[in-house]
């Protein structure tokens, strides 16, 4: 564009400057320009290789583990901060039938979406054995994943204390973590033998589906909360201000040794959301549907009604909210 046109008589065009000091000044200025250009180059190179996001420090381990230099209570730093027990936190849920859905007569707080498509309020569902995480996935665990894979996760997800449930994770983030963990466990020589065997047999680390989640939460007898039929403030983190460390509440009355199935954070499942309960085997995938995926369990921000074992929520898979997290399952798909 004609931004700098000069008529012949213009002073600049003649190169006439006051006190013209040809070579030294010109050399200085050319040097200045070169320095500026060099600065741009260095700045952009630096920008193109930014320092990695803060995450728990690593130790050598098996060369691939992204684990801290010290164990935190109950978790193994050399095992990606998984729980320090025989099965790295995977708790067996024996195969067999359980009562799924809400009986509105017994549970006056039930929502309409907790019944079955055929109109029944509850139904017996038979599930094979599966293993579910004792705790919700923690900030430290997701940090290990983010550091090992370089996957960009929401900065809010890694800001919490390491033993709190991770939040601000999308549904694909949660599944990516599951897939990464499966790969790591399969390749880890120190993995518990039973776990290794299951993985060799084709079991998959993934998110629980609705039925798996609900059975793990309430057991087989159709109770409303994991510990019984009444809400208890000493059993779950709800109507509160924020997340609490996973496993903060003992629950001897619960059917399985799992923590925070009620409250703390909502948990993603691998079930697409529908207005009523459905059996994954019966319903064809609707690829045209607007994507919503089921989350379960309620959160620290919810009232007692929303932490019932049968509670169902549908969430946009791309959302990253400070009250949605997840736990993993080991299942034979």
């Amino acid at each position: 564009m004609p931004s700098g046109n000069r008529p012949p008589a213009a002073p600049e065009a003649s190169g006439r400057v006051q006190g013209h000091q040809d070579s030294p000044v010109a050399a200085t200025w050319i040097g200045g320009v070169a320095a500026l250009v060099a600065f741009v180059l260095v700045a952009l190179l630096w920008i193109s290789h930014p320092p990695s996001r803060s995450a728990p420090p690593t130790e050598a381990g098996d060369g691939t583990s992204a684990a801290g230099t010290e164990d935190s209570a109950g978790f193994r730093s050399a095992a990606w901060y998984l729980p320090d027990d025989e099965m790295l936190g995977f708790v067996e849920i024996p195969g067999g039938p359980f009562l799924m859905g809400s009986d509105a007569a017994a549970d006056t707080l039930a929502f309409a979406n907790e019944r079955w498509a055929d109109g029944r309020t509850q139904r017996t569902v038979d599930l094979p054995t599966f293993y579910i995480g004792r705790y919700e996935v923690t900030v430290a665990q997701l940090g290990a994943f983010a550091q090992a894979t370089g996957r960009t996760v929401d900065s809010q997800a890694l800001l919490g204390p390491p033993d709190h449930p991770v939040t601000a994770v999308s549904w694909p983030d949660a599944l990516a973590y599951c897939r990464w963990l499966e790969t790591k466990l399969k390749a880890w020589p120190q993995a518990p033998p039973q776990l290794s065997q299951l993985l060799r047999d084709g079991w998959r680390v993934t998110l629980p589906d609705e039925a798996e989640w609900e059975k793990a939460a309430r057991g087989t007898d159709g109770r409303i909360y994991p510990w019984g039929n009444e809400p208890r403030r000493d059993r779950a983190n709800y109507e509160g201000r924020g997340t609490m460390p996973v496993g903060s509440f003992d629950c001897p009355e619960c059917p399985f040794p799992l923590s925070d199935m009620s409250g703390n954070v909502w948990e993603w499942t691998r079930s697409p959301y529908t207005p009523t309960l459905y059996d994954a085997k019966e319903v064809r995938e609707d690829l045209e549907a607007d994507a919503l995926w089921v989350m379960r369990g309620g959160s620290f921000a919810d009232p007692a009604r929303n932490i019932r074992a049968a509670i169902r929520g549908g969430a946009d898979p791309g959302v990253r909210r400070p009250f949605i997290g997840f736990r993993v399952v080991l299942s034979r798909l």
Binding site: M1, G4, G15, Q18, V33, D173, D290
Partner: protein, 543 residues
């Protein structure tokens, strides 16, 4: 004439104006103090602008403003001390130049029209204003560091406006925008050569900094720090943008006789595109026969009279080479995987460097019998000849518009066309398909992201890459495209689905229309017209 040879007998250098522009060469110190109030005020204005909500909301942007103001303040303080101690004066030389204010008005009209249809342009006005303030202060200080007078006019306007018509750095990297402007002014001041007996700048100032920064951004793969891609594509959101640019381009052509440059550049691009399409069966450029940002460039970037040839034949060659340069650079950038929107920016500095060669060539052949008559005719009455050239250009553009080569429908933007062309094994068709889908995926079309994931899963038209595929499926899912979610859940079984309504609103933008509020039946009709067969079925169903 050199500076030394024009020194006055007293040994003092003459005033900066030369001839009638002479001003007092040495001003007393009090005058220096007064004139320094202007750069000081500009610096203060820049600092105060950092408290505007648009700026203050971003800490890095605020610090960029402060840093720029600080540099200006230190510079003027050092200059002021040096000059007052030496009792050397500085002054302003007010002069309004048509090529500056006409250009500024024309460029501003582009911002106004474009911003009406793409809101971020209006949101950007504060930052544009800040750059103007910075540019004036920088240009004044640079001039006073080198000579006595600063020619005060609208000079910085076209440099700032044209730079920003092609490249903005995002807020977190905005200090690089100030640096880019500074490099433009420094290039104009120091990168000079002797041309026709005068020492003039080699490069178009904005094109110099744009070209340099483009090169660095390409090498460092940091184009995502800028809005370059968005700028290049969102111009088409303004309806009939080609016609708009054509009309305002006529103003520039009328005043500055650059019709031959723009006309020959456009003709070269139309011609090459047509040849390519005729030989391969697929269009060369994706969105039109001349990408809209290139069309803007050939009116407002390449046409600086002081850095382009002055003879009619030279201008014609210059325009042809620009068209050819853009055409070739588009292919090269695409081949190396760099964003292709740099094509129009990289070509200009290269052409600026070739100006003397073109001048020599024209000089050599103007005496040949074949050219001498034409050259003489062209040079005889430049103003009248320019009007003739403009008339030819108007006819040419009208013809191109009539056959749908400008604002009309362009098959290069039709995804079904590229899917079919890829299936048929047409030249570069699969690469273009991937490129288009990538563009739409970045525009938040879940369908496009899912298709990309499918390509990287299947490994049929591009090498299989499970990690990349997983990333695209995740993106599709986060955009609520359910098939993408099932692909995340079960990577071994590829799920695909037709575009949703929200996808169609993105995929069918071609001629630049904003389709966000288009009624669904109209949208399906448009989709059907673009080759989406599923949409034809839905259209039939809805009737």
């Amino acid at each position: 004439m050199s500076a030394r040879s024009r020194r006055t007998p007293s040994g003092k250098p003459p005033g900066p104006g030369g001839g009638s522009d002479h001003v007092q060469s040495v001003t007393p110190a009090p005058a220096t103090r007064r004139v320094f109030l202007l750069p000081l005020a500009l610096t203060l204005a820049l600092f105060l602008m950092s408290f505007a909500p648009r700026v203050h909301d971003n800490a890095i942007l605020t610090r960029s403003f402060w840093s720029a103001a600080f540099v200006l303040l230190v510079w003027q303080a050092a200059l002021f001390l040096r000059l007052t101690s030496a009792r050397i004066g500085r002054s302003f030389l007010p002069r309004l130049r048509k090529q500056h204010y006409v250009q500024a008005v024309v460029q501003f009209s582009v911002y106004a029209y474009w911003g009406w249809h793409w809101r971020p342009v209006y949101d950007y006005l504060w930052l544009l204003l800040a750059q103007l303030v910075f540019a004036y202060a920088f240009d004044i200080l640079l001039a006073w560091s080198r000579r006595e007078s600063y020619v005060l006019g609208f000079g910085p306007f076209p440099i700032v406006f044209s730079t920003n018509l092609f490249l903005w750095f995002k807020d977190d990297w905005f200090y690089l925008q100030f640096l880019m402007l500074a490099v433009g002014f420094l290039g104009k001041e120091f990168v000079r050569w002797n041309r026709e007996g005068r020492r003039v700048h080699i490069f178009n100032p904005s094109a110099f900094s744009l070209g340099l920064f483009s090169l660095v951004l390409i090498v460092t793969k940091t184009s995502n720090l800028t809005w370059g891609q968005e700028i290049a594509t969102t111009l088409t959101l303004a309806p009939n943008i080609y016609s708009f640019l054509f009309v305002i381009g006529l103003i520039v052509m009328y005043f500055f006789s650059i019709t031959l440059v723009s006309g020959f550049a456009a003709a070269a691009l139309f011609g090459l595109s047509t040849l390519y399409a005729a030989s391969t069966g697929v269009p060369y450029f994706l969105d039109s026969d001349i990408p809209i940002a290139v069309f803007l460039g050939l009116h407002l970037l390449v046409t600086d009279p002081s850095t382009s040839p002055r003879t009619p034949l030279g201008k014609s060659v210059f325009g042809l080479l620009y068209g050819l340069g853009v055409f070739v650079l588009y292919a090269i950038l695409g081949a190396i995987g760099a964003p292709t929107f740099y094509d129009k920016l990289l070509a200009v500095p290269l052409l600026n460097l070739s100006v003397q060669g073109i001048d020599r060539w024209v000089h050599a052949i103007r005496y040949s019998p074949l050219w001498s008559r034409w050259g003489q005719d062209l040079a005889a009455a430049p103003a009248r000849t320019n009007l003739v050239h403009m008339a030819v250009w108007i006819v040419f553009f009208a013809a191109m518009t009539a056959i749908g080569k400008t604002d009309g429908k362009h098959m290069g933007d039709s995804l079904p066309f590229w899917q079919q062309a890829c299936e048929d094994g047409r030249r570069n068709a699969c690469e273009r398909l991937l490129q288009l889908e990538l563009t739409y995926c970045r525009d938040n079309s879940g369908w496009a992201c899912n298709e990309l994931g499918g390509h990287y899963t299947q490994g049929r038209i591009v090498a299989a890459d499970p990690d990349l595929a997983s990333g695209y499926f995740s993106r599709a899912c986060e955009l609520r495209f359910q098939a993408g979610c099932f692909n995340v859940l079960e990577p071994g079984r590829l799920s695909q689905a037709a575009p949703r309504v929200i996808d169609l609103r993105l995929l069918l933008r071609e001629g630049g229309r904003n389709l966000l509020d288009t009624p669904e039946p109209e949208l399906f009709a448009r989709a059907c017209d673009h080759g989406w067969t599923f949409a034809c079925g839905r259209l039939t169903g809805s009737l």
